[in-house]
Amino acid sequence: MTAATLTAAQEGLVSCETCSLLSRPASAAEPGFCRRCGARLEFRRHASIQYTWALVIAAAICYIPANALPVLTTNTLGSSESDTIIGGVVFLYTSGSWPLALIVLIASVMIPLGKLVALAYLLITVQRGSAESTRERTRLYRMVEFIGRWSMLDVFVDTFTVALVQLQPLMSVEPGPGVLFFAAVVVLTMLAAESFDPRLIWDSGHRKRPRHG
């Protein structure tokens, strides 16, 4: 084992998640509070893997209706048209603006899916106690966490359009049920990323050992 794999938990220490102060826990069961910032100390987040799995699965379930159901219903003088996300991508592509299509495809389809896959990958590797490419996995986690806040772009555009395009009776736009599921996917993946404890990545290889001693 390299030095990089030596974790604070192995040494019976706990680092504050807020101010990163390394301190000795009050007890193994109850690490107590940070001396510097007063944050609650935890060796590892409580039931992190279980929480993350639950949220990832919920997000994956919501991902299906988010793409299958229409996100926008456009009423134009008697004719109404419902569009799903993929439908919008296809429309943008066929109407010639492939860069926009690509943006929508990446932001609305690939990123949520990528986040789910990435989280699932992280969870599986952590559960299997893989010691491989811990650094890359940490980087992946950071990316997932970073991207999370930008994922609501679709929902944002959708709500904006609905609010602005209300030219009754000429034209009106209504949100479809898909947008709710899409928002749920985004929120759930953000929560999943939040509940995942990246420190677990570094615990691999020390599974058999007592976590503190």
Binding site: A47, L55, I61, P65, G78, S79
Partner: protein, 555 residues
Amino acid sequence: MADNIDMANLPQAAVVPPKRTRISVVWIIPILAAVVAIGIAIQRVMTEGPTITIVFAAAEGIEAGKTFVKYKDVNIGQVTAVQLAENYTKVEVTAKIDKSAAGLMVEDAKFWVVEPRITLGGVSGLGTLLSGNYIGFEAGKSAEGQRRFTGLDVQPTITDQPGRKFVLKAHDLGSLGIGAPIYYRRLLVGQVTAHKLAADGKSVEIKVFVNAPYDKYVNPETRFWNASGLDVSLGADGLDVRTESLLALLAGGLAFDMPSFLPPDEPAAENTAFQLYPDRATAMKQPDAIARRYVLYFTESVRGLEVGAPVTLFGFPVGEVTEVGLTVDPATLVFGPRVNITFFLERVIEQLPSEEKAAAETMAEQSAEARLQVVRRAVEEEGLRAQLRSGNLLTGELYVAFEYFPKAPKPKIDWSRDPLELPVVPGGVADIESKLDNILTKIDNMPIDAIGTDLRKAFATLAETLKDAAQLVKRVDVDTVPELRTTLIELRRMMTTADRVLKDADATLLGKDAPAQQELRDALQEVTRAARSVRVLTDELERHPEALIRGKTEE
């Protein structure tokens, strides 16, 4: 770990191995998500209607995901795909029908593309100008479900209004279009819904729809006729102009009615086939059951005699010319015109008063032999002859007239031939022609030159006479007129004198203080006085008659 406090004696806390992580409440979230998603999926599947395929000849204005299927203006489905099919000759439209309308997708349901239609008969489908074309739907009556349909090329004009459909057979379509109006006594009561060529290609079948309640006026005996456009016919009967309405004039139309000679009947059944007559007159003609055919060999030109020209008996139309042609005598190779006619006995009987009809009808029902005898007697003894006459001097139309010509020479007729030849007399136009010819010949023979010379002489004499007259007038002017003037002056003087005399007389006799009047008045007073004295006397004498002898007594 170890501090300055001695901790060795402290008991080591029991290390309880961390409990196997229990199932966290967080799993409610994915369960909830799954329940909602499955719920939506189930709802989708439950409301999922059938997917049908409609084959159209062309998919004008049909777009996947944008075109709706509408029934009574309600969306019952949406087109999901449009693709070519059947060797690229047809268009296959796939549409998802709502679950609620799934029961309507039966065998005889109809689909058609609704697009804006502007015809003379009206404007329809204007809504599609904004919303785009849609697929119209008409429910069928069958119970048999179906998922593949063939779309109609044209919109059926009638959906499920109450009324009845009928089929008309016509020689040609005329100017009728789908939606062409149908009139009953000039009321708009229906329309043409479809037309197609009959299977043998020799006639046209026109489907019409007559709205309730007018459909009950369509009886098995009803006559339909083409009321399209302006019907102007200039025949031997004169000019006949007729139109049903301005709309029919522009867009074509049909009309129907019952012939007046037929009794009212039960309404006709749905899809009854009728003959479409070209015009009202033809339609209203009584069907002539017993047509007798005859042939006439005229001696004069039959130019102007057309097929269909009337055959009259004393001016009443009783038949028609059916054929006009030539004939040749094989022995002498002499050509002549041949006119075949039909003669309808019913039309003769129709013109008779009721009490005479019976006799005529029994005659009509006699055997052919007996009838031939009747005709023979009429021809040989009464002199029944056919004659060509001019029906219209302007157009030169001819017709065949039958009349009795007792003085006509007895004809030579082969009474066994069929059709029977009836004798003719030259007449009508030919007569006029020969007379004109005579007149012209006479004019031709006139001594125009001699007449001219005579005329000139006469004119010379006339000129002299006129000169004399002028002289006479001049003399009168010179001699007579002055005398006349003096005479007139005398006369005026005389008149003045007479006037004065009369005035005097007036003054003497009639003026207020005229002496004659004064005297007359005095005289009359005298007379009055005398009369009074006489009355006194007579009174006296009445009372004292003795006074006549003794004189007046002193009282």
